[in-house]
Amino acid sequence: MASTDASSAPAGNAVHDLGALLKTGLLAIVIMLAGIITSAAAAAGVFFAVSALLPDSNLLNAMLVMVLGVAACFGYFWGSNAILDMIYPARGENIATNLTRANAIRPWLFLGPAVVILGIYLVYPVINSLILSFHGPRGENWVGTANYSWLMGDQAFRESVRNNFLWLLVVPAASTFFGLIAATLTDRISWGNVAKSLIFMPMAISFIGASVIWKFIYDYRAEGSEQIGLLNAIVTGLGFEPQAWITVPFWNNFFLMIVLIWIQTGFAMVILSAALRGIPEETIEAAIIDGASPFQIFYKIKVPQIWGTIAVVWTTITILVLKVFDIVLAMTNGQWGTQVLANYMFDWMFRGLDFGRASVIALVIMAMVIPIMIWNIREARKDMR
């Protein structure tokens, strides 16, 4: 296709180039904003007109918003394209220049809404959080690095960091390990797909739903009365004393981790199973001929060939673990030494009502994600080449 790169215009006329680029950019922004505002305003107008006629119901309003939202998107993309074609018509004497200019602007019209929304909801907040972290509780007065030094000396923060590291050590490893085992085993049996579905199912369950499910398993009744929690029933059945599992210091962290491992194993299994199937048949056949046992084949032939996929699974679960919040909130709310960063941040935001401190904690989570972010971007760039 014709290159529309502004930078590929004849060199040597940098000033002219910059001017053209500016003009193109400005025009793109004007058309984009005009399109977004017009379509959003039209959608809002129709919404208020129609919702006045509808019975008062949030659900009906939601349906209406869905239809109007899609219509507004179509309206924007269609309308902004139409405007562009009007300004630079693909006919007449200037057809070549017109096409070039239109092609330089059009991608930005397509990208417009996504870029605007991502900018407001994800890029701006990162910058704003940085600024807020130097401010007081309501984000008004400048306090310098007071929030940071508070954080360094805070006992609960240290506990959260320790627990986050525990989660980071255990959950990705355990999920990947169980996932790998489940993938290997289910690939060898006739009812493997059914088994996979069932192991994968917890993925559809919310963290909070899973917390209810597991809290029921960990339920504790005083010794002597009948246990209705499965774990204590087994423990007492074996002749041991029942325990209030989620209050046992240190070890309760692991009982919370089990919930996330239970949810994530299915994810690991699905990805690793696909990777295992992608291993060239010849390598395995060669190993069989050489007399390798199934276990040797697994550890020495299969696993080394899927290291890349294991890394992807591992990092994906790691990111999830850094943000884990619902499970701790629902099971213990950070009591009994189970606090984690995400829940601690939530605590300062909603109960401590200190936006400065909460922002600092959020930035710590962000900082822990950054190495993975960089690795992801490098991998993605490698793929694209």
Partner: protein, 378 residues
């Protein structure tokens, strides 16, 4: 691969059994709350769900009618009735003092201190016989060990749906989920097309930014957005949460769709260009229909994510009847009704049943989406 195992029946057995064990471990927890949610709340409180088919043992305390009400029968004074309030149950043993509640087997006779003879039958009928007319207003206490037949009921669901507010929350969750699932799709699809098939400066940088945004923790966004919403007057409203979920879903949507759309055959798109189709037409007539599988994968991800979300809903919606979503309500019930498992199990099941149905019905697309790229987490 399967050939290796086929020749070793012992190993094949071991594999089958291990998978069975894994499957049991992964399904039993959910199965447990499903069974429990249908059990009678008194039985649920005293016995494990795995015993729900065998009947539950209970110790009850009943009181006979007052001795003053004894009826004369053949020269004796008799009090009779049934120890079970509900009228059903199987008594195994009974007693007359709290120290020895199971002293007598059902059907045998026990002598009271005041001279009465008490018998309790297996079906719970008791008969207290005196030789002389007894006096007193307080009846005799009877301790009974009984086995109750298993009882299943829909009462728990009736209660959580209509008086614990789960029904209303279900509708609220639906209200949040539908627009938040559909609206990002088109926005992302256009962006993905531009990133795959149009040339412009800054494309690589934009792509890298989107891959980076995939992992930005939501926590960073919450406070700035909350302040922004309050400043511009959006406050806690559905429109605010629809936009927030749309935005938080966009990086994954653009990333997934770009991977798919960039993989479409170049010839199709170039021959359409040669035929004079504009980018707008190519997108609407060729790309969008061809990308259906990728659109479906993303829609399922986004649906599950929004339906199951607690954090965004807690921050951007109010804590009132009109706006509390299922996950938020479940969290509240965990706090206020932590011991009432009949309410918690039924509520939890209402909250997870829709995503589970969607999951089983559309698993194919979900798996395809997972394999196409990384996934977003909470």
């Amino acid at each position: 691969m399967s050939g290796v195992v086929g020749k070793r029946p012992a190993l094949s057995w071991a594999v089958n059994l291990s998978v069975l064990f894994l499957v049991a471990l992964w399904t039993l927890p959910t199965f447990g709350i499903l069974v429990s949610s249908f059990r009678d709340k008194d039985q649920l409180a005293v016995s494990g769900w795995w015993t729900s088919l065998t009947g539950s043992e209970r110790n009850i305390v009943a009181r006979t009618d007052a001795p003053d009400d004894a009826v004369e029968e053949n020269g004796q004074w008799v009090l009779s009735g049934n120890v079970f309030e509900s009228g059903s149950g199987k008594a195994t043993a009974f007693g007359i003092s709290s120290r020895e509640p199971n002293a007598f087997e059902a059907g045998t006779e026990a002598e009271l201190r005041d001279g009465g003879i008490l018998t309790v039958q297996e079906n719970g009928d008791y008969r207290l016989v005196y030789d002389e007319q007894p006096e007193g207003r307080r009846g005799q206490r009877i301790f009974v060990a009984s086995v109750e037949p298993p009882k299943f009921t829909l009462e728990n669901y009736d209660r959580v749906l209509f008086s614990e507010g789960i029904g209303k929350s279900f509708l609220n969750t639906l209200t949040v989920t539908i627009p938040a699932t559909v609206i990002p799709i088109l926005i992302a699809a256009y962006a993905a097309y531009a990133l795959s098939w149009m040339q412009f400066p800054g494309r690589a940088l934009l792509l890298a930014t989107i891959v980076g945004l995939l992992v930005v923790p939501l926590q960073v966004s919450l406070i700035p957005l909350l302040r922004l919403y309050n400043e511009i007057g959006v406050g806690k409203s559905f429109i605010g949460i629809w936009l927030a979920h749309t935005a938080f879903g966009l990086p994954l949507a653009v990333y997934l769709l770009r991977n798919y759309i960039a993989g479409l055959p170049r010839e199709i798109i170039e021959s359409a260009r040669v035929d004079g189709a504009s980018d707008f037409e190519i997108f609407g007539k060729i790309i969008l229909p061809l990308s259906f599988p990728a659109l479906a994968s993303f829609a399922i991800f986004q649906f599950l994510w929004v339906w199951n979300d607690l954090l965004v809903a807690t921050v951007f919606l109010g804590n009132n009847e009109e706006q509390l979503v299922l996950t938020g309500r479940l969290r509240e019930l965990l706090g206020s009704r932590g011991g009432n498992w009949e309410i918690l199990t039924a509520s939890a099941f209402v909250a997870i049943v829709v995503p589970i149905i969607v999951f089983f019905a559309l698993q194919r697309y979900l798996v395809r989406g997972l394999l196409a790229g990384s996934v977003k987490g909470g």
